[in-house]
């Protein structure tokens, strides 16, 4: 048994539940008399909904297949070796379930080495090797092809990426080293760093070819036939593959610098993966492949044993799995059909909601407001947005006509809502106003209609309390910008019944939102945590810490933006309003900052001016600030803020605001854009020791978002 085989055997013992990929070897004659060919098919035996992955046993299968073709190549029995995938899937890389199980650095190192040892053999056969990217290719799937002499790609491929950095890894089976040597550092940085950090952007087949990753591109209908035809002509010498010369000069260093700039902009140095990948890309300039592969092994092992990757995988699974099967949602068969939607209010938020319902549900949507002018403006907004989609080619003229015909505006609620199944209000945040609106809607809407509120901080139970049928009221809390942020907090009032809740979840699914079930508690989840977080920042500023120290204190978390920039985005007035609501509910933990109040009263929309191109404290704001004399260091600020967040989350879980800490994290990722490397926030609080310091225990069991014990 070779060392590679031994390594993989040990690794597969640790991962008994692997979905094993076979590597079938099949022989045939190529066209044009080019000779006998061996084609390896990667196939896990399941349909395309279960993509092919590489765990240790899968790698061992590929290793065995390479044993066979290596021998045949050496004996002159074949003229070339190809590798392709099952229908619609090439291979989507390492099996993450196996990575989660790893407990020891040396085992993690073995995973990296194992992949390298197998893939590398493809580049050392006595005959040329060809990868045919027939379908989705990610991570190790892409990398196995990079070890081949030539590559073709299908025009029909919807997804091709090296997503490792997105999750918290590096492309560590050759990606960091081979890709820049194939297409140059600049393009490699785009694929490995920029796309990964840009919400894991996927390449399509044409881009894979245009980037120079593939040497030829063919349409999906007869991709494999044409690839093999091309292969035959390469082998007979009819086609010579020419690749552009890579710029190994200054451009290489500039590309790496660009990568660091992109990484800083996204994770602010808080997550190591992008930087480790960039170090390897930088070193790949001298073409010492083995040195690069060794560096990849080391980086993989370090990252696999680090908290950021574990949090990243946890976050990925939350979004991909829990986000699609919301915890606590009632039986979906209880949901009632929604064939018409009413929107109370025709302001900007209401109009955005109308547009979203229209596009996703494609049912009639009726807007109402207090005067014709507002109604016309709301409908006009929706029409203008539809025209924008038409202009961008996102929808065709027929679809635009259909959508425009579906949206109407009326003054009379009785006329608009008489046959509506779902009515959502987005009027002024005042409990009396909202109760009045719901009473009016209940008087005219059908008895089964869901009454939904987009309130961000008012009690859903109280809003329903004066209705004849309070059981059909649900909270339906979107996050701005509605079209972009996936989160939808679905709030169950005390009297909300299962059918109404099930309908709300069914609608959320059609809206393609990540729905999380939330108890009717003040400010629900995201706003409560963000307000506690911001409140603590505001407190230390009020007490005397300089603004820039308070801001810099949380930089190591790598949040998408600093607290005060976030406040500016939300709007200081809204921030103040939510803090007042929460102060009303929990006066000892939520203070209303007099400085914030002063800023709002002065009509300022933010703390910063951007005249110099960078945010600088607005002198007018600075003049308003009245600070104490308690000056804290960044570390002290950070500790106070994290302690506050940990305490608040602990209390929320005790109150049963959501089912589990996982829901808190899912909300923060999808509603506030908190990063994967924090896993939302509780994995970070656990690994930094904050949870135990504040609450005496961790939020998550060992192994859930950390290295298992």
């Amino acid at each position: 048994m070779s060392t590679t085989a031994e390594l993989l055997k040990q690794a597969s013992d640790l991962f008994p539940d692997e979905v094993v990929t076979s590597a079938h070897v099949r022989h045939f004659d190529l066209p044009f008399g080019a000779g006998r060919f061996a084609l390896i098919t990667l196939d896990n035996g399941l349909d395309h909904t279960k993509p092919t992955t590489f765990g240790p046993a899968s790698l061992a299968n590929l290793n065995t297949a390479v044993d066979q073709v290596e021998k045949e190549a050496a004996e002159g029995a074949i003229v070339g070796v190809g590798i392709t995938g099952k229908p619609f899937i090439f291979a989507v890389g390492a099996d993450l379930k196996g990575v989660e199980l790893l407990k020891e650095h040396e085992h993690a190192l073995a995973i990296g080495k194992g992949g390298h040892e197998v893939f590398k053999r493809l580049s050392k056969l006595a005959v040329p090797t060809f990868a045919y990217y027939n379908g989705a290719a990610m991570g190790g799937g892409v990398e196995v092809g990079l070890h081949c002499s030539y590559r073709t790609v299908s025009k029909a491929i919807p997804a091709f990426s090296l997503p490792e950095v997105f999750l918290g890894l590096v492309p560590g089976w050759g990606g960091c080293t081979l890709l820049p040597n194939l297409i140059g550092a600049d393009k490699a940085v785009s694929v490995i760093i920029e796309n990964s950090l840009n919400q894991n952007k996927q390449l399509k087949g044409q881009q894979v070819f245009d980037l120079g990753i593939a040497d030829a591109i063919f349409e999906g209908a007869d991709f494999l036939e044409q690839s093999l035809n091309w292969t035959a002509r390469v082998l007979t010498g009819d086609i010579t593959v020419e690749r552009p010369v890579i710029d190994r000069g200054e451009a290489w260093d500039q590309a790496v610098a660009k990568g660091r700039f992109i990484a800083d902009g996204k994770v602010h140095g808080a997550a190591p993966a992008a930087y480790r990948a960039l170090d390897i890309i930088a070193a790949a300039k001298d073409e010492d492949l083995q040195k690069g592969f060794d560096a990849e092994d080391q980086a993989l092992a370090d990252l696999i044993m680090g908290g950021e990757l574990r949090a990243g995988i946890y976050a990925f699974n939350l979004v991909q799995k829990r986000g699609k099967r919301p915890a606590g949602a009632p039986d979906k068969n209880l949901a009632r059909p929604v064939t018409k939607v009413g929107v109370v209010g025709a302001g900007l938020m209401a109009s955005q909601l109308a547009l979203l319902f229209l596009r996703r549900l494609e049912v009639p949507v009726v807007l109402t407001d207090i005067d014709q002018e507002r109604v016309d403006k709301g409908v006009g907004y929706v029409h203008a947005e539809i025209d924008k989609l038409l202009g961008k080619g996102r929808i065709n003229q027929d679809k635009a006509n259909r959508l425009k015909a579906l949206v109407t505006g009326v003054l009379d609620k009785a006329e608009g809502f008489a046959d509506a199944d779902f009515v959502i209000e987005a009027v002024f945040e005042e409990i009396g106003v909202k109760q009045q609106v719901f009473a009016e809607v209940e008087a005219v809407a059908p008895a089964h209609a869901i009454l939904a509120t987009n309130t961000s901080s008012l009690s859903v139970t109280e809003m329903a309390s004066k209705l004849k049928h309070p059981e059909r009221v649900v909270g339906f809390h979107f996050f701005n910008p509605v079209a972009i942020l996936p989160l939808l907090e679905i709030v169950r009032g005390e009297q909300t019944d299962d059918a109404s809740l099930a309908t709300a979840f069914a609608v959320a699914k059609k809206l393609k939102k990540t729905a999380v079930l939330v108890k009717d508690a003040p400010a629900f989840v995201v706003n409560r945590i963000l307000t506690r977080f911001m409140g603590e920042i505001q407190n230390v500023i009020d007490e005397g810490t300089p603004v820039e120290v308070a801001e810099k204190a949380v930089e190591p978390l790598g949040l998408p933006m600093s607290p005060l920039v976030l406040l500016e985005l939300v709007g200081p007035a809204i921030g103040l309003h939510v803090s007042e609501t929460l102060h009303g509910a929990f006066p000892d933990r939520f203070k209303v900052s007099p400085n914030l109040k002063a800023v709002v009263e002065a009509g300022k929309r933010g703390f910063y001016v951007y005249d110099s191109g960078k945010p600088e404290l607005d002198p007018e704001v600075a003049a308003l600030l009245k600070q104490g004399d308690a000056v804290l260091t960044e570390e002290q600020v950070r500790a106070r803020v994290l302690d506050a967040v940990a305490q608040e989350i602990g209390l929320m879980l005790d109150e049963g605001v959501v089912a589990e800490a996982q829901d808190i994290d899912l909300c923060l990722i999808t509603g506030a854009g908190w990063p994967f490397h924090l896993g939302g926030i509780t994995p970070y609080l656990d690994r930094e020791g904050v949870s135990e310091r504040v609450n005496g225990k961790k939020f998550l069991a060992p192994g859930v978002a950390s290295v298992p014990a």
Binding site: V25, H27, F28, P31, L39, T41, E219, D222, E225
Partner: protein, 405 residues
């Protein structure tokens, strides 16, 4: 409105390699529509002069028009092949003469002036769609004795044809079959067949059929080169005890697809397309369903009469070998020797296989090659028998004919 009948030409034709139907066959895990789609795409690649927008029709034949051979295959195959949405399509069924009928029907429309250029072809995946799948014959066929019960079983009709021609013995049929295999093997060795084949990628997940994974098919699977009379002598006669028809002197059950470009001669020349054969006449004829294999004889009589030609004018024959007896009956009728060099020069369906509705275009593709090689021949014909008692014949003129020079 005055009209002029236009000359119609066979521009080009291709086919997939033919496979054996069944779980071990090469196409067992390949869809029928994919086969014909790949044939159409290869045809278009070979003829870049044909702007796909100018294709007026896609006529695709299949005998069993359900599942992956249903859904108006001509239309769906056009879309799947990447033709512009503006190109229409439809399906055709005349059992074994499906692709042949796709050619003649569109040819008639071209002559009339309704089309300039079309794709015509056929497909039959007898592994996925066994003969007779889903059929529901009207009980009156039997109660009123409209047809003999054997009419639905092609092998039995072949035995009946032996009865009609007592001089055609099993020995003669077997000798014919051996020659067909020999001629096909020689045609392969001489590279006459491969040029018109479309390589097809095939997947196999069941190891019983051989190596698993993706493979590439570049040759006909049914071929049995080296077949001897001794090999054939003791084969079973499944259609009649002590009968004459065996798996060795008949075409098998097969999977495959064909496609051709048919155009007006003016269009072909204006667009720089090859002109491989010129249509002279065509005819279909019905016979008693229980002697289905007799069909080519009256069909050829009609086609010759329409063309004003006699059988002696025909220099090359491509006769579909559903059964050796059916070819021999034709030859005997016209007084042509069993081993006449003008007949099926590359061998026939006994060797290559006969995926029912696709076969007509295979005959044409082979005749077109022979025309090119033999410019002394002016006329040739393609003919086949058709289930439920029919025959189909097309007479072609060789555009390379040099005899008048």
């Amino acid at each position: 409105m005055p009209r002029t009948v236009r000359d119609v030409v066979f521009v080009d034709g291709v086919r997939t390699p033919f496979g054996k139907a069944g779980p071990k066959g090469i196409y067992h895990e390949t869809r029928a529509d994919d086969l014909v789609v790949k044939a159409i795409r290869e045809l278009l690649r070979r003829n870049p002069g044909l702007d796909p927008k100018k294709i007026d029709e896609v006529a695709i034949a299949a005998t069993t028009q359900i599942g992956d051979q249903g859904l108006t295959l001509g239309r769906t195959a056009g879309i799947l092949a990447g033709l512009p949405q503006s190109v229409p399509g439809y399906s055709i069924d005349r059992m074994c003469a499906g692709a042949l009928t796709a050619v003649t029907t569109t040819a008639g429309s071209i002559a009339f002036g309704a089309y300039d250029a079309v794709i015509a072809g056929g497909v039959e995946h007898m592994g996925r769609h066994p003969m007779g799948e889903g059929v529901d014959p009207n009980p009156r066929f039997v109660s009123e004795k409209l047809v003999d019960e054997s009419a639905l079983f092609m092998g039995m009709t072949a035995e009946n044809l032996h009865d009609r021609y007592p001089s055609i013995t099993k020995q003669r049929a077997d000798e014919y079959a051996v020659r067909s295999q020999e001629k096909a093997a020689k045609a392969y060795a001489d590279g006459k067949i491969q040029a018109d084949l479309v390589p097809i990628s095939v997947r196999r997940t069941n190891p019983e059929g051989g190596e698993t994974g993706w493979g590439l098919v570049t040759a006909d699977e049914p071929m049995r080169p080296g077949t001897t009379l001794e090999n054939l002598a003791n084969l079973k006669t499944p259609f009649r005890v002590h009968g004459r028809v065996t798996a060795g002197n008949a075409a098998g059950l097969n999977d495959g697809a064909t496609a051709s470009i048919i155009a007006s001669e003016d269009f072909a020349r204006e667009n720089g397309l090859p002109v491989k054969m010129r249509l002279v006449s065509y005819a279909f004829a019905g016979v008693e369903p229980e002697v289905m294999g007799y069909g080519p004889i009256p069909a050829t009589e009609k086609a010759l009469a329409k063309a004003g030609l006699s059988i002696s004018d025909i220099g090359l024959f491509e006769i579909n070998e559903a059964f050796a007896v059916q070819v021999l009956a034709f030859l005997e009728h016209y007084g042509i020797a069993d081993d006449d060099a003008r007949v099926n020069q590359y061998g026939g369906a006994i060797a290559f296989g006969h995926p029912l509705a696709s076969s007509g275009v295979r005959l044409m593709t082979q005749l077109a090659r022979q025309f090119e090689e033999q410019p002394h021949v002016r006329y040739g014909l393609t003919t086949m028998c058709v289930g439920f008692g029919m025959g189909a014949t097309v007479i072609w003129e060789n555009p390379h004919f040099e005899g008048d020079k």
